[in-house]
């Protein structure tokens, strides 16, 4: 994160460099079934971000040592394609990707009814094709829809968005410049039907009032994102909503 006032990203009228107001989210689209060979799949575009997710399973858990006797194992991978960033991302082991995969898995453990499929495995494959800040949130959103598309039972969808602070102002859904030069970043994973949280990280500096503002921005944005998810799932099955 950069420092307060280093780069001017929001003007006196509250307009951000890309024209958005403080509470505005970047435009998002969701398409279901984009990977035909998978059990479930989805593509999320969010600003310039493009992320796809595929779900396979439940299926036999190999090797046997990873099997759990009483529930399915969630095997979640998050990866950035080499051409997803301006400076090429070398393929191979990446600590950040490994961490994101793990916290994403933790988020879905809270909603997927894994007890229905003991000793099996459910694979979630998240691939970032183009990155523009908020990729871990976009990945969670793509995975939610892909899991629903695959018929994996869940008690709720997981909706993820990050708000933060730029030039001392709390704003919703940081873009790349804001993420690089801002003062705080608060990504959250929310269950839209209960308001509960399954994912929470934070970087930077927020006062209690600022924290609440960012929290509320995320909650509001999550509602809109959830609507897009539902519309995408229904549209794939003849829905008109």
């Amino acid at each position: 994160m950069g420092g307060y006032g280093d780069v001017q990203m929001i003007d006196a009228d509250g307009k951000r460099v890309d024209g958005r107001g403080a509470g505005d989210m970047r435009p998002m689209t969701i398409e279901v079934g984009v990977i035909p060979v998978a059990d479930g799949s989805a593509r999320v575009t969010w600003g310039t971000n493009e992320v796809v997710a595929a779900v396979y399973g439940p299926m036999e858990a190999h090797p046997r040592k990873i099997q759990k006797q009483d529930r399915a194992v969630l095997d979640v991978r998050y990866n950035m394609a080499p051409f997803s960033t301006t400076d090429r991302m070398r393929p191979g082991f990446n600590r950040r990707s490994r961490e994101i995969g793990k916290v994403t898995r933790d988020a879905f453990e809270s909603v997927v009814l894994t007890e229905l499929y003991p000793r099996s495995k459910i694979r979630v494959e998240i691939e970032v094709l183009t990155a523009e800040a908020g990729t871990r949130c976009a990945g969670i959103n793509a995975a939610s829809v892909a899991l629903a598309d695959a018929g994996i039972p869940m008690t709720d969808m997981v909706v993820s968005v990050a708000s933060g602070k730029i030039n001392g102002t709390v704003v919703c859904d940081l873009n790349k410049e804001e993420d690089n030069n801002g003062e705080a970043d608060l990504p959250m994973g929310i269950l839209p039907n209960s308001g509960e949280l399954v994912f929470l990280q934070m970087d930077g500096d927020l006062s209690p009032a600022e924290f609440k503002e960012a929290w509320d921005y995320n909650m509001d944005a999550a509602s809109g994102i959830h609507d897009i998810m539902v519309a995408a799932l229904n549209a794939a099955h003849g829905g008109e909503s």
Binding site: A38, Y56, P82, S84, T86, R88, P91, E127, T130
Partner: protein, 262 residues
């Protein structure tokens, strides 16, 4: 790749189909699936393409980096191909280091492009002995319904043909198109049910046997051949395939050469 055992019924069925000059999805022997090519679709890449062949979907991205030229070729740049077939694209692809299949995929596509000479390495020189461009072609599959070879090769050449050298971003001059003098095209044939077919889908690949990959470019010049898996073929079979490859190459080249980035 963790290949499950091939169901015997599938092999028997493919044999019967072949005897009747039929294929699983109703195509004729040398008929390819619906081919769709889009370019300029990855904003962070300097050149890009997305290729769809039936349910097989792959991306190719061209990225540029600067390098110090090799001492024995001080006025030349470099070219490298990396192919990734990650678990996202199929039930049977596993996480982990690149499999033999993925490595072969990358190398076969690389050879086809390199041997065609479509890329002039001296064109990539920035400052002799000090700086040159390295062109990196990243091939990335997201859905494997068979014939990743041709999908990757087609996406690769489409991305290269529409790539822009990012001189401005690297502060070495103006942006300019990457000079590509021809379009090498790969055509792959699998022996399925006893005879060679073009553009096998995943069930034909699983239930089939050996394969041949032919890369041709302008005027039918052959640039690369690769035979995979165990099995033999006759001279007649080979020339039959070669005839088809020539026609198909021309057809695909026509598409590739007319692609423009929007």
């Amino acid at each position: 790749m963790s290949a499950p055992p091939v169901p015997k019924l599938l092999r028997d069925h493919l044999s019967t189909l072949a005897d009747n000059d039929e294929r699983l999805d109703g195509r004729s022997r040398f008929e390819g699936r619906d081919l769709n090519i889009e370019v300029g679709i990855l904003p962070r890449a300097e050149g890009s393409a997305k290729v769809t062949m039936g349910d097989t979907i792959v991306y190719a991205g061209v990225k540029f980096q600067t390098m110090t030229p090799y001492p024995d070729r001080p006025a030349s740049g470099g070219f490298m191909t990396s192919a990734e077939v990650r678990p996202v694209c199929g039930r049977h692809w596993e996480a982990g280091p690149p499999s033999e299949e993925a490595i072969e995929l990358g190398r076969v596509v690389d050879r086809g492009i390199r041997e065609s000479g479509c890329l002039d390495m001296s064109d990539l020189c920035i400052l002799p002995g000090e700086k040159a461009w390295q062109v990196i072609l990243d091939l990335f599959a997201i859905s494997d319904d068979g014939n990743l070879f041709d999908a990757f090769a087609t996406a690769g050449i489409a991305a290269l043909r529409t790539a822009i050298i990012p001189g401005e971003r690297f502060d070495v001059g103006e942006d300019r198109p990457l000079p590509i003098s021809k379009s090498p095209i790969m055509c792959s044939y699998h022996r399925v049910g006893g005879r060679y077919v073009y553009d096998a889908n995943i069930r034909e690949e699983i239930g089939g046997d050996e394969r041949i990959h032919i890369t041709l470019s302008d005027d039918g010049h052959v640039h690369s051949l690769q035979k995979g898996l165990k099995g033999v073929f006759t001279a007649d079979e080979f020339y039959e395939i070669m005839d088809h490859a020539k026609q198909r190459t021309e057809a695909i080249q026509a598409i590739i050469n007319s692609l423009e980035v929007n």
